[in-house]
Amino acid sequence: MVVKVYGSVKAACPQRVLACLLEKGVEFEIVQVDLDEGEHKRPEFLLRQPFGQVPVIEDGDFKLFESRAIIRYYAAKYANQGPNLLGNTLEEKALVDQWLEVEAHNFNDLAFNLVLQLVILPRMGQRSDTALVHNLEQKLEAVLNIYEQRLSKSNYLAGDSFTLADLSHLPALRYLMNEAGMAHLVTQRKHVNAWWDKISSRPAWKKLASLAH
């Protein structure tokens, strides 16, 4: 039975899940949810995800939402198939969780709000707030300076192997570097840039990017 992923192949949070399933070689089917039409806020969808957010997965009878919960579930369930995305020891796994939390709390809001201001609002014919963009950019620079420090000491965020912590950054970083025109945030930082090159060259990510964009 294939995993059903509710969302859009272009949306960042579903992409987090799709990238993980592709890495682990887990078959899936995308069930389109039209975010532009507000489908995710309608009663039928709210029965699946009461906060009106994508993605949601359905795996037989088992249903789960929150992309970072879904990727942890599949990385654990298919621990013996595909690359190990959770580290080898409990301490390594803890570092994966630490950097997943950093992505969620320190990186994601800044990246999301920049993409909102620079890509989504203009697409909807609305003005973006220049002062806010500048403020967000400065904060994100400070965060990426810490990443630069970290990645000067290890090849990937949680250690010397690619894990969920790195994977979780792919969707927002791609949007920042392309549609949002913020590539300099990455390319001006030697170790962050090298890390981005490595993680975005992975076959699973390239496959998803070709499906989506």
């Binding site: 009461p50 906060f51 939402f65 929150e66 579930y73 301490e91 997943l100 965060v143 420090q149």
Partner: protein, 211 residues
């Protein structure tokens, strides 16, 4: 060698402390004064480069982000104390789901309210009443979803207490206590019963007694 937890006076470190108590793990604490800006000292930034609380040191091992720390200890000490991760990997998946809900849907508005109502004046800033009102509305909508969920199961991830419920303790305590917004919990029958249950656990009562 015991686990050292930094910043016990504040909410996020209490998320870690209540977990350690549930798992019967010995620990010690080290104070960090946010008002004095001690979280921005070079020595602290060596441990936690984002300048946030908490961080733990366990022998040679240093870890930050409270929700990463609680997952680590819940798993490492699986065989002792309260089971906090469910029994199957699907139950674990639901624990992770509701931990993420707490982090992304519950935490942002309640954190804004905490900063405005409990810390702004200490930092010499005026309270942004509009932001407080907006955050309270957002939090109310989240609590409505919780009310529906908790009408179907005793705890968030199912009929078992888990990290997902535990994660809510510190900031909700601020809400019903010093923020004086207990009505947000009491106006919702199932949320109210859930709050009574989890906040009366001996572990949480111990945290309030100690810190």
């Amino acid at each position: 060698m015991v686990v050292k937890v930094y910043g016990p006076a504040y909410a996020s470190p209490k998320r870690v402390i209540v977990c350690l108590i549930e798992k019967q793990i010995e620990f010690e604490t080290a104070p960090v004064d946010l008002i004095k800006g001690e979280h921005r000292n070079p020595e602290y930034l060596k441990l936690q480069p984002f300048g946030a609380l908490p961080v733990i040191q366990d022998g040679d091992f240093t870890l930050y982000e409270s929700r990463a720390i609680i997952r680590y200890y819940a798993e490492k000490y699986r065989s002792q104390g309260t089971e906090l991760l469910g029994k199957t990997i699907e139950e674990r998946g639901l624990v992770e789901q509701w931990l993420e809900v707490e982090a992304h849907n519950y935490h942002p508005p309640i954190y804004e309210m905490t900063v405005q109502l409990l810390f702004a004046s200490k930092l010499g800033l005026s309270v942004d009443e509009k932001l407080v009102k907006k955050s309270e509305e957002k939090l109310g909508k989240v609590l409505d979803v919780y009310e529906e969920r908790l009408s179907k199961s005793n705890y968030l991830a199912g009929d078992f207490f888990s990290l997902a419920d535990l994660s809510h303790l510190p900031f909700t305590q601020y809400l019903v206590g010093p923020m004086e917004k207990e009505y947000m919990i009491r106006d919702r029958k199932h949320v109210s019963a859930w709050w009574d249950d989890i906040s009366n656990r001996p572990s949480w009562k111990k945290v309030l007694e100690l810190y």
